[in-house]
Symmetry: C2
Amino acid sequence: MIRIKDIAEKANVSTGTVDRILHNRGRVAEDVRQRVLEIAEELNYKPNLLARALVSNKTYHVAALIADPSEDSYWQAPKEGIEKAEDELKQYGIRITKFFFDPVDADSFSTAANKVVSKAFDGILIAPLFYRQSLAYFNKWRRENIPFVLFNTHIPDYEPLMYIGQDSYQSGLLAGKLLHYGCSETATLAVIHIEEDILNSSHLIHKEQGFKDYFAQDGLANRYEILQIDLQSNSQQTIPQQLNHYFKSAGNINGVFVTNSKAYIIAEYIQQRKLQHIKLVGYDLIERNLHYLNSDMISFLINQNPKGQGYWGVQALADHLIFKKKNNPIKYLPLDIITKENLHYYIEADS
Amino acid sequence: MIRIKDIAEKANVSTGTVDRILHNRGRVAEDVRQRVLEIAEELNYKPNLLARALVSNKTYHVAALIADPSEDSYWQAPKEGIEKAEDELKQYGIRITKFFFDPVDADSFSTAANKVVSKAFDGILIAPLFYRQSLAYFNKWRRENIPFVLFNTHIPDYEPLMYIGQDSYQSGLLAGKLLHYGCSETATLAVIHIEEDILNSSHLIHKEQGFKDYFAQDGLANRYEILQIDLQSNSQQTIPQQLNHYFKSAGNINGVFVTNSKAYIIAEYIQQRKLQHIKLVGYDLIERNLHYLNSDMISFLINQNPKGQGYWGVQALADHLIFKKKNNPIKYLPLDIITKENLHYYIEADS
DNA sequence: TTGTATGCGTTATCAC
DNA sequence: GTGATAACGCATACAA
């Protein structure tokens, strides 16, 4: 392994000079600069990250801005991922402060983001559930050169350090495949959005589009009918009543794709109405879904590794802050297909 | 973060003394020993792994004993995983020497293992495909206190540092679920072993057992017929001929589970005979399988993350050698369900 | 039996 | 512009 000292000796300068060149701190003669850079290149110098991390025993304060797990248990997993990463990285000087907001309340998001802004953090991990509210903060952090990592929801064009999360469109395609495989040659399928403001959630639209595009491929187009259903509990009818209506008018529904983590609502309905033949695909390993996965009401859950999203988000910030490593600006986590039989590998994934 | 120095000050001794106590190097007064250990406990001392790795810039020589990828392309992935880990760990002093053997030749395994034994390595990663031949080496390494990690094939009772790999029985259950989900209320299914000496491969038996047990559960037992088929190309008939025979005598086969990475052989047969309605589940993301996965001849491939097995195997040795960390003695990697639509996350998984 | 000094590779400060 | 040098936390050789 080549050290700075090796480069220095070969170039007949001191380690201090080499260091200044390698870090672009100026105060060096141009010819020396050229020579040293050439030698570093030639020797294929790679800094020793251990030594670097050891010497810079600075504390880095990172803010994590996520939805409150007590409002929506889905957010428990990202929180755990963040905490796991913090645990591993705290000896390298990473400190994390978490800020929670209500996932259905844009104002609470802004309130939390304002708290973050008032504190001067070295890096920020954020799940920008609210598009419009997020933009101003992104601009501010970009101006101030504070690195921020997005996860769960992608908002391009604001140069985050990284986006970590799902490929929504692709997951819709996958859901299509799973229902197609489980249904006969011809079938009626429903895409159901539950308790969502669809127009404000581009990722739901992408999921639906992926699902529909799956069945638009050669030979499938006229054999499968795709319904789009919207369920909101705050209307005149309860959700089961609304479902009664849809299921009656559709005649016979063979498969259902729920675009968020609320598949358990459909599963419950299926169970009560004894419609077990309906294949059901949804998202996310939350407890109420797992219950129906284990009783075979839900066929498959697509897992977007929410814990991993939190974990890798913090790791990306650490790579940047501590190790000055460069990462890809985007990291899609695998779309894991979960069924009763492989579930436990994914919920015990603690190593 | 608590340092050795902090403990030393609190105990009114020097850092050298604390160090000797913490590492059990003796030459300390018993009362001092007690006091220091108490203080370390009380302060919750955690050694700084960075500093430790930095100072002990020893080179650790690790041997990796795997099957030759040019004999069976499945082994390309473990090899890549090993190389990826080596790349990450070489700055911490890990050097890996790879030894290849022919996966169908027990003698070549012994030859390779003998080479390993003659060299004095600090740690060994091994895929013990041949049970009987492996045992003597395990005993030797255990006697000499050389840590060895098993992957791909589990041989308990010899105290490896760790086993990393698949849970064969569970993967059989999973295959059962996938075929059950894709078939109608009643069906005939085949478990096919291809080119294997089954009696000598306990993991194939476990897979088959898991598969059968899936269909032994309540309500399924008398609706599904399970055939067991053995294919060997070195008999009088070609494999397609043998398949003709089985398929004819069975009447109608609706689904096939191939217990190793050779599902492509069945896929080819299905395609040529225009039996596309047959659902096919197999193992492993090798190129010939992927081709048929993409053309929908193969419905699902179960991935056992062979690259991850190599990678984590080396990591486990490094944790032990460099960081003196303790790991669980067993690590089952997730049984990933792969279909055309989520495939690319698993083959590009390089981050 | 105990304490001190030195070095690992990098960074940062300071004197020249 | 440049080159010594100290420091990060740990391990260890050697002096006491």
